[in-house]
Amino acid sequence: MPVAELRGVTKRYGAVEALRGVDLAIAPGELVSLLGPNGAGKTTAVRILLGLAAPTSGEAQVFGCHPACHQARVRRGALLQVGKVPDTLKVREHIELFSTYYEKPLPLAETISAAGLAGIENRLFGALSGGQKQRVLFALAICGNPPLLFLDEPTVGLDVESRRALWGRIRGFVARGGSVLLTTHHLEEADALAHRIAVINQGRIVAEGTPAAIKAQTQTSGLEDAFLAIMRENGSPLEEVIQ
């Protein structure tokens, strides 16, 4: 049984259709990457699976129940795109608070080391660099030791080194048996991490498979070329694809 699932989900915001009949399932231990340009519907799909938005039609389930139910909430962690996190709390205080939300959280020291925060746990969040801040958000996602993670564009704005380091931490989580839904518009990222890629554009899943299968499907060598080919077939203006 999948740990998280969207079945025929559409989501309309007024006249805008953010999702148009999306089917997506994440199996236990699987890292699925939802890949697409900005505005494709990636964040909407994640918000629905987190119970932050309700589908207009179709069904969303996490661990067999409604995404907002308690059972689902305590068994997942999430790293969302957030504009501002309270600056006047220490790294340790942020993690300690989020740990109390879960029934069996990781010990504090373990979360700190798994997120690469050793040595800065007593700093105020506002005094951290961009990469360190993103690591704190990752720590908040994993501190409850959940079997499922939602990572919404986790490496946006990070330099190459921080991005690679975060990839390592995500791989570590999957190696311990965790499942992940990772959204990205970073092709290399999906290729490096995912067992399976679902390409989303204008609210529809337009291709799905292993990174290798996605490449084969369009007879191109690079994933980036494959991505652009899929987007063109689906009538997306090129400028939008390239960003």
Binding site: Y13, G14, V16, A18, N38, G39, A40, G41, K42, T43, T44, R47, L50, G51, L52, A53, A54, H70, R73, V74, G77, A78, L80, Q81, V82, G83, K84, V85, P86, D87, T88, L89, E93, E96, L97, F98, T100, Y101, Y102, L124, L137, L140, G144, F150
Partner: protein
């Protein structure tokens, strides 16, 4: 479960105490204003009550309003508008914990600043009252934070993160002056005196004044009812705002 609430309150308190724009201005402004108008002017009102005693009640109300309106009005607007509230909602945090913590912390700040004001009034303003009156006034002022928390939450549930501080000031400062908290209501222009009963600030000031047996309009029960009504209406408005928020547009 109680541990979650306790940790939420403790963390919220640390966060707000370290945020100097909140903690320092919430405490310093009422004390400073009271020192200028209540202590330095050393006048006696026509009713025979000293300015230092009268304004202790009204600056107490002013202080309580500041502690709650900023914590909720600005605090919720910023955390909501910048996505932090969303992160909390996605977590297994009990949904009420966020608001309970904010209420507990703004009440704590209200209690701190009212206590300091009372100490100033007693030590430097020569204000003397029976202990029961001091306690009743303290309790009424701190409890008066609750309806203002609802007003702040209503603002914070609709205002954008950048405009919220300006909106809170546009509500807080006129409410304080027109409600007779800066200067005694009886020396304000007649027009304002008639308008004052439509303002929640006036009612909290009147409750505190009634406890120290200054002449007031109506009874404590009337004013408490008016405050409860304001609080409930604003809580309803806030509830609408919080629900609307969940369906905001995102890519």
């Amino acid at each position: 479960m109680t541990r979650v609430y306790w940790m939420e309150v403790k963390t919220e308190f640390l966060k707000m105490a370290r945020m100097k724009t909140y903690s320092v201005s919430t405490v310093a402004f009422p004390l400073m204003f009271y020192a200028f108008f209540g202590l330095a002017m050393a006048a006696t009102l026509p009713s025979g009550i000293s300015m230092s005693r009268y304004l202790l009640a009204t600056y107490g109300a002013f202080a309580v309003m500041g502690a709650t309106l900023y914590a909720f009005g600005v605090g919720v607007a910023v955390e909501r508008g910048m996505g932090w509230l969303e992160v909390k909602r996605a977590s297994p945090m009990p949904p009420a914990a966020y608001f309970v913590a904010k209420a507990a912390v703004s009440l704590a700040f209200a209690a701190i600043v009212v206590t300091l004001l009372f100490a100033m009034g007693a030590i430097f303003g020569g204000v003397r009252m029976p202990a029961s009156q001091w306690l009743a006034m303290w309790g009424a002022l701190v409890a008066g934070a609750i309806p203002f928390a609802a007003i702040g939450l209503a603002i914070g549930s609709f205002a954008g993160p950048n405009s919220a501080p300006a909106i809170v000031n546009m509500v807080y400062l006129p409410l304080s002056f027109c409600g007779g908290l800066w200067l005694p209501i009886e020396i304000l222009p007649k027009g304002l005196q008639h308008a004052a009963p439509f303002l929640p600030s006036f009612h909290l000031g009147q409750i505190a004044l009634a406890i120290q047996q200054a002449p007031v309009q109506g009874t404590i029960a009337n004013h408490a009812e008016a405050l409860a009504a304001f609080g409930l209406v604003c809580a309803g408005v806030a509830w609408i705002g919080q629900n609307r928020d969940r369906e905001k547009t995102y890519g």
